[in-house]
């Protein structure tokens, strides 16, 4: 860990500066603090769409946000720092009571989770990178069709919508509606889902059976997909493969908060591998 002359680790100094930025700029909406905390030659590697200049342009963006969301607020969830770099995981929230990009106010409370990385030069920020899927903002701007409202918030109904609209339908607005912000997936299941998503197209999922017990739902689903994408070194084979699997989901307050969602990736890979082996054997024979 780098150390300054007064023995305060430089990382702690950077965290203090970012906390000051969050307090003054994001939460007290003091735009004058922008230049105090960023160097004049500041570079934003991910400027907002249409933003013209790095510092003054960012102030214009903030002015637009604060007008649209007068109660705009940002909470730091976690920060990590090493040397001249600092990473901030945070959540913004705000109520859309003002005009945003010419759109009339919706009075909806919006939130989004994002990660920003800043680099320091001395005691000021000199570069920034940032990401956030911003699914609620996309709906506000009309980029995403909003999902149908939740008419039945019972666990089984929520799970059936999740399977149909998110896992099979790949609908982002439904994802935002049906997944709790603190929801978790097993990492292994998530890897399986990501591999499956890139490997297969024309995905269908049929629910063969679904049973709810309290907040827990077990659904037996049949997955079918056509192998048209990368998969463990197999070039796309065009094979149509099918697997049957039981999913376990937990629903609290109309949202999926915990899910075991192995769609049978192991079985699907096995089917493709066995078919190739059979083809090889036929050619060899």
């Amino acid at each position: 860990m780098a150390v300054t002359t007064d023995t305060v680790p430089i990382e702690e100094t950077h965290k203090r500066i970012v906390r000051r930025w969050v307090k003054e700029v994001f939460n007290e909406h003091k735009l004058d603090s922008v230049e105090k905390l960023k160097v004049p030659e500041y570079i934003d590697w991910d400027p907002y769409p249409g933003q013209r200049e790095y510092l003054s342009g960012f102030k214009s963006v903030l002015t637009a946000f604060f007008a649209a969301f007068p109660d705009f607020h940002y909470d730091v969830e976690h920060e990590l720092a090493e040397g001249d770099m600092l990473v901030c995981l945070g959540r913004w929230s705000g109520t859309n009571t003002g005009t945003f990009m010419g759109l009339p106010p919706t009075n909806r409370a919006l939130t989004g989770r994002r990660i920003d990385v800043v680099r320091f030069s001395g005691d000021k920020m000199s570069e920034r990178w940032g990401t956030g899927p911003e699914l609620q903002m996309l709906q506000l701007m009309g980029v995403l069709e909003p999902a149908a409202p939740l008419e039945d918030s019972r666990p089984k109904a929520v799970c059936l919508r999740f399977i149909d609209e998110v896992l099979a339908g790949h609908d982002a607005a439904s994802l935002e509606l049906l997944i709790g912000s603190e929801g978790v997936l097993r990492t292994r299941d998530a890897i399986g889902l990501l591999v499956l998503a890139s490997a297969f197209s024309e995905i269908t999922l049929t629910v063969d059976e679904a049973v709810a017990e309290g907040e827990h739902v077990t659904a037996v689903v049949t997955f079918s997909g056509t192998h048209t994408g990368p998969l463990l070194g197999y070039v796309p084979t065009g094979d149509r493969v099918t697997a049957r699997q039981a999913l376990n989901l937990r629903v609290v307050d109309g949202r999926v908060v915990d899910a075991t969602v192995d769609l049978g990736i192991g079985e699907l890979v096995g089917q493709i591998a066995r078919k190739r082996e059979a083809d090889h054997a036929r050619h060899a024979g």
Partner: protein, 148 residues
């Protein structure tokens, strides 16, 4: 034996390059704890992205580590060959920004938080929204992720 920040960075890098980019489970047992969890919303966003962009890959630019966490700053590339968030396949290649945070304990990943810039990196290049409609109006010349 204490685990160093450098070792944690190696684990995060190997996960992204050997498992995520290669869509390969081979190294999962070695790199990921059995009880590891993901932030569901963010992983499911990636599920939608990989469905729309089957050749999606990250290119690691920087890593920042502190205690048991490693943040990985990447650019990504992918080709829009399947429907994505209501947009029919355009065949366009996109480049964009991605940042992921790994929590690593005892040499294994115990939590992954993916994060991706959907609007700027994916929706605008695919033509889902006119860039000019935002903020400063036409004439912006600032670069954005992956374009420089």
């Amino acid at each position: 034996m204490p685990v160093t920040l450098g070792e944690n960075k190696t684990i995060a890098r190997r996960f992204l390059e050997e498992v995520f980019n290669e869509r390969n489970f081979a190294a999962v047992d070695e790199l990921v704890s059995d009880s590891s969890t993901d932030e569901a919303e963010q992983s499911l966003v990636m599920y939608l992205v990989l469905q729309g962009f089957p050749d999606f890959r990250v290119n690691i630019e920087r890593m920042v580590a502190e205690d048991d966490k490693v943040a990985v700053l990447s650019t990504f590339g992918g080709t829009h060959t399947r429907p994505f968030m209501g947009i029919k396949p355009t065949g366009k290649g996109v480049l964009g920004r991605k940042i992921d945070i790994f929590t690593i304990r005892g040499g294994k990943i115990v939590n992954i938080l993916y994060n991706i810039d959907v609007f700027q990196s994916l929706m605008i290049p695919l033509g889902a929204f006119p860039k000019e409609a935002m903020f400063a109006g036409p004439g912006s010349t600032l670069p954005s992720a992956g374009k420089d």
